[in-house]
Amino acid sequence: MKNKKAFGIWKYLLALIIIVLHFVPIYMVIAITFKSPYDHSSRWIFPGYVYLKNIQTALERGGMLMALKNTVIISAVAILFIVVIGAMAAYPLARNKSRMNHLVRGFIMGVMMIPPLSILVPLYSFMAKIGGINSYWGIIITLVTFQLPTSIFLFSSFISSIPVALEEAAAIDGCGPFQTFFRIIMPQLKPVTASVIIITGVNCWNNYQFALYLLQSPKIKTVTLAIASFFSADASNVNGAAAAAFLGILPLILVFLFLQKYFIQGMVDSAIK
């Protein structure tokens, strides 16, 4: 009994250490963001006041306002296509297990293995040729293509688990394949769609590697690009840089806190096949 009680305290102590270790980066960002640049106290010390000018600096001079707008547009449109094209592609792969579709599945897995770094140079020159550099559609199409395999696999394992009876009934009633898909299948995909949106959405929002190559004009910066230029151009303004970082991570952290269940379920589903 005594042993158990000791373990109880030890448990909470360990929990506290873990919380501190993982929360300290976010704490640091918040502390520096709301601190005046003239306050030279250690970065560990949380300001006893709220100073909002750093956020203003980041939004206006650092271009974070525009970057947030661009990132919202790019991520939202990309997610839409990732979901629609992904769900469509998953349907025949889950329902029509022919030899050819087995090959198609293998092809998609092979695509998944190609790391962005090994195609970035030719992709850039190809995009330059077709006018996709510094455009919304160029980055969107790239993000969609690279997130599609995840979306296809999540959707196809989910579709495999829904009974075929409904589709067969629809076919007897004279529903064509398109009607069947959009009227019968799509409405049943809600839970897995949440996971797909969350997992691929985080990757779109946080993307840096493709954006670095494809978006070179200052007018079309995304959050990561704006923060990178803020840190390299204005390295002395630590508080402004922290504010930019704060604005960049806040949206996803908030969404995560509200939809945590879906994030974790989605992660587990996509990892364990």
């Binding site: 293509t145 630590v238 969404v255 990892a271």
Partner: protein, 291 residues
Amino acid sequence: MKKQHRAMINLFYVPAIILFVVFVVYPFLQGIRLSFTNWNGYSQTMKYVGLKNYIRLFQDANVKTALINTLIYGIMSTVIQNILGLAYALFLNINFKGRTVVRTIIYMPVMIAPLIMGYIMYFFFQYDGGAINDILIALGMEPADLLVNSGAAIAIIVIVNSIQFVGVAMVIYLAGLQNIPAMYYEAAMLDGATFWDRFKHVTLPLLMPAISSSTILNLIGGLKLFDLIMALTSGGPGFSTHSLSTLVTNQYFSAQSAGYASAIGIVSFLLIMVISNVVTGYFDKKEVDTQ
């Protein structure tokens, strides 16, 4: 389903296939072609140089460093994330008040863009006014400029990457632990098995699918590491902390050797392909063995 209907639904994956062919397969083949040229990345002309880029690559000390670093980033991150992730999962599998809060806090950094995480770490490791040096000075020690020391910088990159993404391994292991039927443990207890026996003979074998998913996921993530390195060191000091992916970008943008950058990209692809196939094959065999 009718045969005709079945054939018709195959049309549904055509958009996806078109995207893959145009934006992955075609650039990939172009990359192979470019790797045999001396293209500088912008001019209209290029010359085929045969295997010159590949020969240069095998003699280039910077490529060797980047290759070793890539393996360090990949393997060390995988080891740390799996051991720590499993430890966290075992800990959070105990029922205690507030454990969901702990899980939330561990997983939260996964949301942060690795690039931004790298810049945040700058607030800690900066020489002037960095949070780590504040502690060192308070303890009466000399302040350290860790990011200009390549060994320390590599260790920092590995640790930051591991701590940021350990939440992924943790949730995979938690899901795995929850799938182990309690009766196995009860049976083991009846047989007088110690905690270590139970862990070794019940938990570990039954966690094999989780171990394999988590290892492959972390390994591929670590081998592709890019954003964090760009934010923390940009590959410096010198070329000492470059990974293959940051080196490709460096050779393309700074050195303007697009042909050479393509060759490094192709070699990286082969490397990642071989490593992940070997690891996947190993786990597939292991999973069959334990069944």
